[in-house]
Symmetry: D2
Subunit: 180 residues, 4 copies
């Protein structure tokens, strides 16, 4: 699908779901979780790097692995456990919405010669959209599996997917159709 | 010394010392270590944030706390243990020389309303110098305790301290003279 | 509307309209142009900085003032002339969609103590949306006058305005209701 | 000298020389000017891009070409005229010391497939040094012609050249030895 290498990026799925919009978000996460799991599993089988880029929720002590521990100790560990990073997973901490904003992700991708990223996770019309834009602005190719991203507002999520396809050249497709 | 808040930044001291210049660097680290330890101790006593900004040595799995574990398991754990982050320490991972390059440090400092940073650690004429520049370019005030930074080349370190004082407005002083 | 200062940012209106989507875009630009003109005029009267942030269209010779000259020499100079920068206008060149991506805008705003920007120009669902996101991520307050932004796709523009209001805390209002 | 393309970057030579250290700087500029002129001339003959990256001196109205006009109208136009940009020159405005800080230079270089930059101009131990660091951190190859850079403090300039050679892998050589 691209000349360089590909990676799967998992956005904000290491989560305690304690924020304000969780009620709107959770049904969509529950629905998309199996597709995310299958996608990550297939990526690992094919040796495609899986990069977790995750909000630090104001925790700046990444030497503690606090983010993952907090999420696994939370009320919705059932949504975290199936997507748990393994020993080969890469992990980048972000402080704000976009996976690229003041993070080393662009540098990491260039070091790994990756020019195509598949974005799964949440929230379609927020962090996924913003990250797709920041990828497009950096000339990276983008795939978004529409069944492996979760939303808060269905209408905005639909518009976000259309924006990514129309204005960012993203491939929007079913997760099982993605070939590694 | 400044109107906003102050922080102590500890650069690259979580280290396995397995790189090429370790032979030149180690005597200087051994000499500066006690001053670094006293400075960090006093900062903690005064409630001044201590922020470790550390090379990831190509390890991108910050959910594992690998960086600290590797250093504590290495041959020179004796140089790491005395400066070990505590439960309140902040920790930011960097991939390249400067503490600001593709890291969230600038964002973290602005969130904490910090406009003055005291830089200790290594290497005076490399990461410390580069980080001081990137702090100066962002209009942050800088203090460098000359006895709490370690160098590889003594002549370049001396020039680096002079550059920081002359061209970046940094205060260069003995660590014990720094008041919090 | 905010505690700090405010500025009006004019996005991509110095334009030759020679790109592929011009046919879809032009009717919306023609309709929004008078509101943009009134907004810029009122800002100037009130001493509110007007900052043009404009694509360089691959021209990297900003010593020539080529961007403005090209646009004024083009077939649609009638859409440029009414919004022409005056002697007090600020001008920042951008290479990609967002007004913040690899530009000095964030630095300029911080130097001018501006924490609130009013975005007008084009394209609502592209550069305006992306710029609003990058402003929000930097904790800037945002106002978007819905009659002073131009779109290519009406449905995506409507979704973009809703995203800015719902997810970025932007004030969406009629341009004449904006008070300086 | 590298696999990709090469460019010559001219730093801060479009200058009115009205700043505080001009007295120390001017003799060095006068001495280095002929070498800079020869280097730029040879680069143009060989089709090597010449990119001027210049402080904006707080002028944010790049649509006016003010920076060049001010310098050519100043008391030391004799130091600007010989290095004047021609119709093919590229021009990037910077607000602070480094040629990369909040400028589109990194983007421009990647678009032109340039991975090796030759830095000339001023000030050796300030903007040239800082720019070399920011180039090195981005994995660009660096050449610095020691006779085509100007300094304020001779001792710091000497240390800066040694830092670039020792710690940034830069090639330091006479300008006439540089082959395009």
């Amino acid at each position: 699908m691209s000349n360089g290498r590909s990676a799967v990026v998992v956005i904000d799925m290491i989560n305690t779901y304690e924020h304000g919009d969780a009620d709107l978000l959770l049904p969509s996460v529950e629905k998309a979780l199996p597709a995310m799991g299958r996608l990550i599993h297939r990526a690992r089988e094919h040796g495609v790097p899986v990069i977790y880029v995750n909000d630090n929720f104001g925790q700046w002590r990444s030497h503690h692995g606090e983010i993952l521990e907090s999420a696994l100790a939370g009320a919705r560990a059932d949504l975290v456990e199936p997507l748990r990073p393994d020993g080969d997973s890469l992990f980048v901490v972000k402080a704000r919405h976009s996976i690229f904003f003041e993070t080393p992700l662009a540098y990491l991708l260039s070091q790994l010669d990756i020019d195509h990223i598949t974005l799964c996770g949440q929230v379609t019309e927020q962090c996924v959209l913003y990250s797709a834009l920041d990828a497009h602005i950096r000339h990276l190719q983008i795939t978004v599996p529409e069944d492996a991203v979760a939303h808060i507002h269905a209408d905005l999520a639909e518009a976000a997917l259309k924006m990514m396809r129309t204005n960012m050249g993203a491939t929007i497709q079913h997760s099982d159709a993605i070939q590694f």
